[in-house]
């Protein structure tokens, strides 16, 4: 005899792994469901003895095993040595005496009637990739969509996602950066108007519904377990995902056992490409959706730019380029390798036009400034690599200051160039690399863009 319970608890917890003490429900309700066996308790930290009296720890939420990311202290609550995980600390501390809960009862039923309101049509290239992706999903193997910037990667996902939704399956689109999630959210909401969609990122408010399509930063997948029938990782080569093993594990544990993880990117790492060739399927698109070639980077030397900017003087070439953009009323992005240098340059640019602003990862008005650039309220932005991907602004012109810096590797430069000429109305634009010496990465980026434009790809 099962007692009735609040279905919101099931809808919220299904597929999640959550701190017992931090649910949006009362502890009485949670306790009752634990007693009834609908909710299972999992220990926060698993500790196993290792050699020399050392212990090996595993965080059951983020699956971190790196011993340097754990701290052991004397806990006043469990009155003994207690270990906590610093990897996922910001989501509420998980320690030895913390309990995690997962939904173990009857699964929620997801609706099968979903409309797709997207009006566009796929190009033959997109259609082929989309069909191949659907095929891989049916076979439950991983798939990589390797498609140049501006080839309409998101639209390729629409048909396979729609098919999964109409089968009552649960789907996640994950991206390493919150900007990408924020850009995807309105597009998917308008494409799937009848579907319960939830965007999950640091600071987002949880909806109490069983959301069938989840858009999440890869960090937030720490808090999901065996939730999805498919996860699509957008911009799979972006920082911090590519360098952080725990984020890669998080994506893999977020899918149901045996369900596939698919990847979408314009600049796959060699590792991902070779892995996918061995164990999955790869679709390649080397044409933008409007058929125009990718903009070729132009190398312009800007000797000793750093010294000049630090002295409070903007190089002539930079002033001329900026003034030209303002005169043509073209929105522009200027990329810097370092926040400090960018902030020193900001007042110098403001002498040309006082409305020029700068953004970086921790900037409080980052979202607003990017929106203002879209709305043409700001003429242009100075930015760190944070805006290198995921953003689309019609007719945007791009310059990189210090393209020789290490942070601008081949992938980053290709992504930055990918911001230019995305819309069919403005298929070209400036992609200038101001440099203090040409690096291999700059050459490789140019070679690869040339090759893609000629129809070939790296294999």
């Amino acid at each position: 005899m099962t007692k009735p319970f609040n279905p919101a608890i099931r809808d919220f917890l299904d597929g999640r792994i959550w701190l017992r003490m931090h649910t949006p429900f009362t502890s009485e309700e949670i306790d009752a469901l634990i007693d009834a066996g609908h909710i299972q308790i999992i220990k926060g930290i698993e500790s196993k003895p290792s050699f020399l009296n050392q212990k090996r720890h595993l965080c059951n939420r983020c699956e971190n095993e790196d011993s340097s990311r754990f701290t052991t202290f004397h806990c006043a609550k469990c009155e003994g040595p207690c270990t906590y995980c610093r990897q996922c600390l910001k989501m509420g501390r998980v320690s030895s005496c913390t309990e995690l809960i997962v939904w173990n009862g009857e699964k929620p039923q997801y609706p099968t009637n979903h409309t797709i309101a997207w009006q566009g049509t796929l190009t033959p290239y997109q259609q082929k990739a989309s069909d191949e992706l659907t095929d891989s999903q049916n076979k439950r193997v991983s798939h990589l969509i390797y498609a140049v910037c501006g080839s309409g990667k998101t639209e390729i996902l629409f048909p396979p996602i729609h098919k999964l939704l109409t089968e009552g399956k649960r789907v996640c689109i994950a991206a390493p950066r919150v900007d990408v999630i924020l850009e995807l959210e309105p597009r998917l909401r308008s494409a799937f108007p009848n579907t319960k969609i939830e965007a999950v990122y640091g600071g987002s408010k949880p909806t109490m519904e069983a959301s069938q399509l989840v858009l999440a930063t890869t960090h937030q997948l720490y808090r999901f377990l065996h939730a999805f029938d498919a996860v699509f990782v957008d911009e799979a080569d972006a920082f911090p995902y590519k360098a952080d093993a725990t984020l890669q594990k998080a994506v893999k544990k977020a899918v149901k056992p045996g369900s596939p993880v698919h990847y979408v990117t314009a600049t796959p790492s060699d590792k991902l490409l070779s892995e996918m060739k061995k164990t999955g399927v790869v679709s390649i698109i080397n044409r933008r959706y409007h058929g125009h070639p990718l903009p070729i980077p132009k190398f312009i030397p800007l000797w000793n730019y750093e010294k000049q900017i630090r002295k409070g003087k903007l190089p002539r070439k930079l002033i001329d380029w900026t003034k030209q953009r303002l005169a043509n009323k073209e929105p522009f992005l200027i990329f810097f390798h370092h926040i400090g240098l960018m902030e020193e340059a900001e007042p110098l640019f403001q002498l040309i036009d006082p409305r020029i602003r700068s953004v970086h990862a921790a900037h409080p008005d980052r979202k607003e400034h990017v929106q203002a650039l879209r709305n043409k309220e700001l003429p242009g932005l100075l930015t760190t690599t944070i805006l290198e991907r995921g953003i689309t602004i019609p007719n945007v012109q791009v310059a990189v200051i210090g393209a020789e810096q290490q942070i601008f590797d081949k992938g980053a430069l290709i992504q930055i160039g990918g911001r230019v000429g995305r819309s069919a109305d403005y298929p070209t634009g400036d992609f200038i690399l101001f440099h203090n010496g040409i690096t291999y990465a700059m050459d490789e980026a140019k070679t690869e863009i040339d090759k893609l434009n000629k129809g070939g790809v790296r294999t």
Binding site: F73, A76, Y84, C97
Partner: protein, 202 residues
Amino acid sequence: MNCLLCEQRLASIPSWKSLLAVEKTSLICENCSKSFERVDIKEEGDVIDQITSIYTYNGAMREYLHQYKFLQDVALAGVFANELRSELARKDAIVVPIPMHPQKKIERTFAHVEEMLASARIPFKDLLIKTNTEVMGEKTREERLSMRNLFAIKPGSTIHNTTYILVDDIYTTGTTLRHAASVLKEAGAKRVEAITLIRAEK
């Protein structure tokens, strides 16, 4: 090793002091430690004979305190170990941390001031108990100033006719420290000084 605050790799510069364990190696990177702003206030008073504060309550410090106390990142207890030790080491006095209410301590799972002292290897004595669970941060200045005494001497401990140094994380209106100092003085302390990591704007 990575910086405990920004997770950047730490460039460690070997020195005789760190080799001989005179100075604890820094847990945070140079950039992060530069973001904290020294204030080094020293004030004389009658209830508290001398009060020293080391840092201002700027954005970086607010974030540090949030991660340490509210996200319960105990690993951060040692971030200011060197600074605390250089204020406290040479003094010939009994160090007394401002205590937490036992219930609050269980909720937080650790006593934040004691952990700071312990990781700086500064010997201290628990001589006070907190008598209520009220939180200073939730009170207005008027409410704070009119409160009755927050502390009592821990049963079974004796207070000598000597110097005591109270330690707390943050000084705002000074109510907490004045209450603690007056309890110690009533019990026979000759002189009570105080050291706080942070001085907040009143």
